[in-house]
Amino acid sequence: MHIPDGFLDAWTASITYAVAVGCGLLLWKKYERDLRAEEISLLTVLSAAVFVAQMLNWPLPGGTSLHFVGGALAGMLLGPSLGFASMTLVLVVQCLLFHDGGITTLGANVLNMAVVGVLTGYAVFKLAVRLAGNKRSSRIAGAFLGAWLSIVLAGFACGLEIGLSPSFGFYIDVTVPVMVGWHALLGVIEGVVTALVVEYLHARLPLAALPLTPQGVVER
């Protein structure tokens, strides 16, 4: 999912940088509030866990691989603005320290995983809990669907970006189906892992004022 240097042309790279920064500023402004130390504590631990989880590459039969992305989980546990901050921190460390994901494509990677991934996961989870009530079944279903859709939409965005980038001609008719098709399958694993983690943490973490409370998802 991490687009390396060389995959995006200058236009696509610039536009995705601008959109990612714009989304970050909007999110921060919309959800601006006094930060609390406990939120930063959870953000730090979650970022470290997502960073390590992304190092576990699962090879699949048929010659493809996947790793856990974690954007949806960050959105569900931290809300949109802190979820965005958590995933962006992970992506910046991966890019600058290990060159995992390009520097020219960092905007696109933030857009795909920290904006699309986080917001989709958060929105679907919140909707599921709101519509079906804060029950175990709705939390699990919401977390699974939110994480699955976040991977599919992030894959769609990624396919769009690389399909618009080749020097000669547009190839979104090729790249989008490849990315969406594969990620619809891989998203099932992301969904299962996210649902298990969300349900495990729901019972154990005293997240008094975080999005995932015993009473449900609070407004941010």
């Binding site: 995959f7 609390r36 959870l42 631990v45 576990l56 921190l89 992970v90 995992d100 990624c158």
Partner: protein, 100 residues
């Protein structure tokens, strides 16, 4: 309180276990099956080229540590990444605590 989370032994033990297991999935099996993400597949079809290896700035490229075998380097690089994330988080947390 969730602020104790950063000091929770359980959490860091879980992260350490994932870190120690990571070379098995990130290096050994990846080499065996020729690590290939859907993104690589799509890029191959439309002829995009990854230039990361030719133009890079970090000695820790692709989770390696100079002088260490790939497996040990992968674990150490992971620990380095975690340390940087925790250092940044800790500084921000202390700054917020002071303001509180």
């Amino acid at each position: 309180m969730a602020s104790n989370l950063i000091k929770s032994k359980k959490v860091w033990i879980a992260i350490a276990i994932m870190l120690v297991a990571s070379p098995l999935l990130g290096v050994v099996l990846a080499d065996v099956v020729n690590y290939h993400e859907p993104l690589d597949l799509a890029a191959e079809i439309v002829g995009l080229r990854d230039v990361s290896e030719k133009i890079t700035w970090t000695p820790f490229f692709d989770y390696s540590i100079p002088g260490f075998p790939a497996e040990a380097g992968y674990v150490l690089a992971g620990a380095l990444g975690v340390a940087v994330i925790v250092a940044i988080g800790y500084v921000v947390m202390k700054a917020v605590e002071t303001r509180e």
